[in-house]
């Protein structure tokens, strides 16, 4: 059994006391920052990334996995307690979660989210481990044309699944791709769009963009709202454990959510978000038991299903990242950046050249999940306390963490000027209703895409048909086209708008 041998190798690497400690600290910090209102996982990871710089690669990745799960769970906590989704995938959790919290059932809601996520995470890890090896085989058959087409598919997928205007999302991706091109061109050595600023020849740092757009942009927009618009947490949390009745409702919902999430997460293009929406829709379609609370009024299934789907999806979305080196969403794009800082280029070669790291990372994801359960259910009281801290004390601290995080990336004040610019840009995006997540994805993919396109066309002597004559590349492009057509069909279009309208 290769799977077991591989997993035991991974657990051998990850299960050392020191690495367990890093996983623990990562989870703790991730939840701590992630629970702050208005700070989503992207901003959290960007902010905490410097904390991993000093560590060896395996430990750093383990800590990052911890931060990632902590941030996600922290986001769900805020969503349930304060009615404030920190990211698009917890948007549906808010609907029933907040209603439960208002009825004093925040405890069971949080427990359902935690337990459901844990189960989904376990399944996701197994799927990831099982699929990683065969997919890596496929990845080695990929030439530049296939990579280019795959990235197109990933970007189209991200747009299709994003909420809001389709055209604007495409434009944001293209803008991200362009920003990613700033800096030295690897083929010719020409410094592009650098305005003769030496720091810009290295390109714009992805932390700068993530921090400025997701961190500062959000803070400014939050402060701009009137106090009454900022939801404050008032309800009390009594009792954590769901009742027997809750469990009976929860278990099938968790199972359905996990199955949906695992399947959709593999698709390039923000599977986790779609998984959460799809899972909620499925739950709404299933019949209510007698005496069950209707959806939208605080049904525990409305929390358990999307949270499990979300977590299973984010787990399986590591598959395209680790096997092909292509990030499927903004959070994964950030993970690519983080890995590059630790000198790891994600892709099929990681598994063969560095199996300890690869399987260690997969094992550490499970550990991160387990840590979350151990950490968060008992500590929930502390997170709730944190939410009752007035915003006027919180936001200067958030600004400070952003500034320190940005500075420590390169120990260079230039990044601080850049983040100021992107803070203004991020606020402008919010004002203009342009969602920034596709931009970050495009930003990471920009240089990769150009590289693969140039290589493919160099090999074909400038013949553009290479993208459609190679069968693998052609089928990837066909799927992308199909996705686009599907979304533009009137019937699907109204369904999609309906699904996303539920978030209001």
């Amino acid at each position: 059994m290769d799977l077991i041998a591989n997993l035991s190798l991974g657990f051998g690497v990850a299960f050392t006391p020191i690495n367990l400690m890093y996983a623990f600290v990562g989870c703790l910090l991730g939840t701590l920052i992630g629970v702050l209102p208005g700070i989503g996982p992207v901003a959290t990871i960007a902010m905490l990334l410097p904390a991993t710089y000093a560590l060896p690669p395996v430990s750093a990745l383990i800590m990052l996995a911890g931060i990632y799960y902590g941030a996600q769970y922290g986001g769900s906590t805020t969503a349930i307690l304060v009615n404030l989704p920190g990211e698009s995938s917890s948007v549906v959790t808010v609907i029933d979660g907040y209603q439960m919290a208002r009825k004093g059932r925040a405890g069971p809601a949080l427990a359902a989210a935690g337990l459901g996520s844990f189960f989904a995470g376990c399944v996701g890890t197994l799927i990831l481990a099982a699929f990683a090896a065969p997919l890596t085989e496929v990845a080695f058959k990929f030439g530049p044309a296939e990579y280019f087409s795959l990235m197109i598919l990933g970007l189209i997928g991200a747009v299709v699944l994003a909420s809001g205007s389709l055209l604007k999302a495409v434009a944001m991706i293209v803008l991200g791709l362009l920003l990613g091109l700033v800096g030295t061109d690897v083929n010719s050595g020409a410094a592009r769009f650098s305005f003769d600023i030496p720091e810009l020849t290295d390109g714009i740092g992805f932390i700068v963009i993530a921090m400025g757009v997701f961190g500062y942009g959000e803070i400014i927009s939050n402060l701009g709202k009137h106090v009454s618009e900022r939801e404050v947490f008032t309800a009390k949390v009594t009792g954590l454990m769901p009742t027997k009745e809750d469990f009976r409702n929860m278990v099938p919902a968790v199972l359905r959510g996990t199955a949906l999430g695992s399947a959709l997460g593999i698709l390039p293009g923000g599977g986790a978000v779609m998984a959460a929406f799809a899972a909620y829709t499925v739950e709404k379609k299933t019949k209510l038991r007698p005496g069950e609370v209707p959806f939208g009024k605080g049904n525990i299934r409305g929390v358990a299903a999307p949270e499990s789907a979300n977590n299973a999806g984010s787990q399986t979305s590591f598959i395209p990242l680790l096997t092909l080196g292509i990030p499927p969403n903004a959070v994964m794009a950030l993970m690519v950046g983080a890995m590059t800082i630790h000198n790891i280029q994600p892709g099929p070669q990681v598994m063969t050249s560095n199996p300890e790291l690869f399987w260690g990372l997969i094992a550490s994801m499970w550990i991160g999940n387990a840590m979350l359960i151990i950490l968060n259910l008992p500590l929930i009281g502390i997170w709730i306390k944190l939410l009752s801290v007035p915003y006027k004390y919180l936001f200067p601290a958030i600004v400070l963490f952003c500034a320190i995080g940005v500075y420590s990336t390169n120990n260079n004040t230039f990044d601080i000027w850049m983040v100021a610019i992107f803070g203004v840009v991020g606020y402008l995006f919010i004002k203009l209703g342009a969602e920034p997540a596709p931009l970050l994805l495009g930003f990471i993919l920009g240089p990769m895409m150009e590289e693969h396109m140039r290589r493919a066309l160099l090999l074909s002597r400038g013949d553009w048909s290479v993208f459609v004559t190679r069968p693998l590349s052609a089928s990837l492009l066909a799927v992308a086209a199909l996705l686009l057509v599907l979304v533009l069909l009137p019937a699907v279009k109204s369904k999609r708008e309906e699904a996303f309208a539920e978030e209001d």
Binding site: D185, A190, C402, I404, D463
Partner: protein, 162 residues
Amino acid sequence: MNIKSQKDFFAGLMFMSVGVAFAWGATNYPIGDGARMGPGYFPLVLGVLLAILGGLITFQALVLETEVDNKIGAFAWKPLIFIILANVVFGVLLGGLPSIGLPPMGMVIAIYALTLIASAAGDEFSIKTCLILASVLAVGSYLAFIVVLKLQFPVWPAFITG
């Protein structure tokens, strides 16, 4: 002509101008052809694409009726200015600004300045709570970033540490 969706209209204008700027900038670099692309090829294509997309978005904003309220609304100038200013002042104080002869003042002073300026962005401002918050943050950051994580930060002003 009536603007149906203010947000989309200006977003389209933004995309158009950025696209044109990138495309125009790309013409400064060798473009090359399909087989041998120069550094200007890909940005030129993307810049043009972005400009076209921006144009479409602007056009839609003028033509398509929307039911949702798509007004941009007032800009929150106060938080915008104070948050960004706090960030910039933090950078200036932390690393110093050789062009005006300001030596690095170190992290502790920078934290106090950042907290004071950022707090001014909020609705209420009290100097006393601000100083307490800054002190808490300074001690906490010192412990977390300097003692535990051992990041290389100037902590005190350069003229004291020498």
